[in-house]
Symmetry: none
Subunit: 147 residues, 2 copies
DNA sequence: TATCTTAAAAGTCAGAGAAAGTCAAAAAAA
DNA sequence: TTTTTTTGACTTTCTCTGACTTTTAAGATA
């Protein structure tokens, strides 16, 4: 088995505790596997690409490290599913319920929640009942698509 | 964890009582962390830059000290100023200009820009001309208040 | 009082050290 | 042969250190 595969597996195992971000030190890892440090870069660039669901950050210098984050597209799938299930109209109450669901599932952060809420609130729209819920549905769905 | 990060955190914790300016003594702090005094300068110059929302002043000589102020009210002031200058109506064109100004002054990030844009776009609002620009102004201003 | 002196701060800057990144050539595998 | 993996020399970025400089307050002296 090639060393790259072993390192790949080792890194993936670090996620086993359920965390969605892990941190490694390039030189330390290279020493552990008895390979040159740049081998770690190779593994990362071939096996932890965004298209494979990972996002990588790093810092050089003393105490430097490499952070690998798992990005899941569960989020996008969930949002698309919700959007499809919102009809042509949406009440302020329904918005509140959706937003609180999104927050508890960590689909959006509190800032996005505030923006969604304010952009679709009765006070801001100030429209007749029949127009209001239609406009609200359109704004809400389109904003969601951009989150 | 690197010593610079520890010192950074220590200083930031000093703001926890809500004050927007804190005062430290360079030598004292260096002694506390068992590092050379210039390390404090390093931390300040890399972690407390104006671009990071801090403003630093100091005095030498007996009883000298370093004062760190939290600023970044610039952003809020600017936003408030803009909001006050937006009337009751706002065209799609005006939105585009404002958003591109905000972006170039780093008042908002690209995600916020997209949300502002989509929530106020003609296609989404789909209202008669007289209503549209009024609703757009309200949505835009209220969203800005929450950025 | 006015000035001079000294000590107590903070500031600067360049060099050393500690990481990670790059890239192309060699080697191995498909 | 073509593609993937491995290697290592060189680069870049970030952190830490210490010698030296500058500024200022406070005390000493005329």
């Amino acid at each position: 088995m090639r060393i790259s595969d072993v390192i790949e597996e080792f890194i993936k195992d670090l996620f086993d505790d359920g965390s969605d971000a892990i941190e490694i030190q390039r030189n330390e890892l290279a020493e552990h596997f008895n390979c040159v440090p740049s081998q770690i870069n190779y593994v990362i660039s071939t096996r932890f690409k965004p298209s494979q669901g990972y996002y990588v950050e790093s810092r050089r210098g003393g105490g430097g490290h490499i952070t690998i984050k798992k990005v899941n597209n569960d989020k996008e799938d969930y949002i698309m599913h919700i959007i499809k299930n919102i009809g042509n109209e949406l009440t302020s109450n329904e918005v509140d319920i959706l937003i609180s669901d999104f927050l508890s599932y960590n689909i959006i952060d509190t800032k996005e929640a505030k923006l969604l809420k304010v952009a679709t609130s009765d006070n801001v729209l100030k429209l007749s009942k029949d127009l209001k819920d239609k406009v609200r549905a359109r704004i809400f769905k389109n904003m969601l698509l951009n989150i």
